[in-house]
Symmetry: none
Subunit: 203 residues, 4 copies
DNA sequence: ACTTAACCGAGACGGTACGTCATGTCTTCCA
DNA sequence: TGGAAGACATGACGTACCGTCTCGGTTAAGT
């Protein structure tokens, strides 16, 4: 049986790629962004210069600046939160807290801010991020909601995709699109409560 | 007699700027974007070539590519919606419809899509858009909510900024950040109802 | 033609050209060159700026930068020397002194130096200078030589054009093409003597 | 063992410069000038376009347009003449013939004409030309004259620098500064004879 | 130990765009 | 109507980066 990576893969002749170079490249990008270099000025040429690496060494690994950033994001993205599972409310609060954390991080780190700001300009990067980060989390929330409906915590006459957006949307709006808005500690709590209870009096 | 435009405005010496050139420039940008030219390839040089205009004529008017896009956005942005004023619910639906319309437009028009996608990468553009478009609309919603509270349509124990986000967030999430999600005709209605009523059973 | 030169001519409708503007332009060029501005940087634009004059006002008077310099040179060129007429030798010395003077002036004045250095690059300027300055002086020397032959001061078996060059050439070489060579007070004397007497021993 | 090229010469890292590009650039300049393009229109941009070469490839080799022309001149300048050494008179005739040849060439070739015309406007070019071409030839003539004095062909009571100018000046005047004057075959002979013998009757 | 082949850094290559400046023409207001 | 002010299309300037391509020199795996 093929030991690891499958079938008739050719034996890789020649000198193997240096992990050191790869790390140097990624580190250089991070360093540049943390030094506040505008992302538009993070050119391949400059990365190579900073990393002390030939340009070809970068192009050998990533065809695009986008592709490089995809890998970079994967390094940066915090792990998915662990849900307590005690109730839909608690689980939703934890998920929203995780979103809030990222929002806080984005305001702190020039790196995160710029990468996220740019992401929609790079379709492949955006698609990759959507597939590997956003969609899995939506799936988790969807499951939380489904259990919430089953447990009688959530109405069963609503489109769960819509409900998903009702919880996630406000937090994203706050954390990503309104960089001046406060991100208080109890924000997740308040959003979940308000969406659950409604904003109509006596509801 | 007021000389022309009021105050102590200086008499503009020399040949006045040609409106034709200005229009040609803006039209060229629109044309390029509508032809699907990636926004990163919309260089000043290319705009000038397309518009049949000297580069200096562009730089004379806008110091940045950003600044140009600010003006472009102003041309494109649809007018603020007219609120019926019959009830907070109706007003909110109209505001959200207007957001939905822009979402639909962004999916149709490559121009809008790319400009919005890029906007956060250009801080000045983003700030200008925030100040001239987003904040005024938030202000309108804030006023609608205030009246809603006064009329007893909305609870008076909630932070209205939060409520604002509860209504706007889901629609923005759908229309801007989830380009694959459907934007049904009744979406605004459903969001407003759900946020008003809450998603807890019996609420 | 200059409107102020036409005797009892009525002011022919319209504003006459201002002498002040013309003088301001020429003065500006002189000032720039004397300030050591490299002649390549003496653009029409800059002249206009320095003179406080519109570009069109310059182009209205001179079609070229060359044409402007032609007029400028005429202002600068010293008057033709007055020959004593006592002998060919004396007359030649005076002519050569005059050449030497200009050579000294060229080393002193950046203006003169640069204008002469550039002149051959501007065919019309060069032709004008040749016709109005060089050729008249050659003519004078030709006449001096002719009288010298008649008076027996100069051999009659030589081409006078060649003799002309024998006297003028060495002084021009010294003063114009060898800017480091000394221009001693007695240089004209020594050249005239040596050319007259020859450099062969016993000649 | 000597490694290759002698001293501690550094090993040249990176891709070596292409001789083909260099030749293409110089050829392009020559071609442009020979096509009668005014030297002022021989822009770096145009050279690059004509040579099918990137602008950077030119700037990598020459910092200036001047520096480029210095190299160009070195290619063009004919070799120093071989002196027969039979007598000072013969040697001087050969040197002057060589000057005359260049004069003829300058009238034939637009390239040479313009380059020489412009040279004094480019101080570095002029200095380089002076040092590498003019001064060496003056040195040769100086040596010829010294031997002439020793051999009794030339008076020993004259400043040899002056004598140098007496021979060279007339030919330069004819060939460089009087482009309309004839450059007959026997011109060198006649100048040398006249300067040796003097123009005074019975000298 | 010796090939072989892909790696490495460095940097040159033909391009394209940058933002500035000068050209010569034009337009508009002021005197 | 002349003049200043300055906008206009054009095009060169010198720099930076693009992505590709040599170079000379490693660095393993497979003979």
């Amino acid at each position: 049986m093929a030991p690891d990576e499958g079938g008739g893969r050719k034996a890789p002749r020649g000198r193997p790629r240096s992990e050191a170079a790869e790390r140097a490249i990624l580190d250089a990008v991070v360093a540049l962004l943390e030094d506040g270099v505008p992302l538009g000025e993070v050119s391949i040429e400059r990365i190579a210069r900073t990393a002390g690496v030939g340009k070809a060494t970068i192009y050998r690994r990533w065809c695009d600046k986008e592709a490089l950033f995809v890998d970079l994001l994967r390094d940066i993205e915090p792990p998915e939160p662990v849900l307590p599972g005690t109730s839909a409310r608690e689980d939703l609060v934890v998920m929203l807290e995780s979103l809030r954390d990222r929002g806080v991080a984005q305001r702190t780190s020039a790196l995160l801010y710029h990468v996220f700001a740019q992401m929609k300009s790079y379709p492949k990067l955006w698609a990759a991020y959507h597939a590997t980060v956003i969609e899995p989390r939506r799936l988790i929330v969807r499951e939380v909601l489904r259990r919430g409906v089953a447990d009688g915590e959530i109405r069963d006459d609503l489109d769960l995709e819509l409900v998903n957006d009702l919880f996630i949307g406000p937090m994203l709006l706050r954390s990503v699109m309104r960089p001046d808005a406060p991100l208080d500690d109890d924000l997740a709590q308040r959003i979940v409560s308000a969406v659950l209870d409604g904003v109509r009096p006596g509801s």
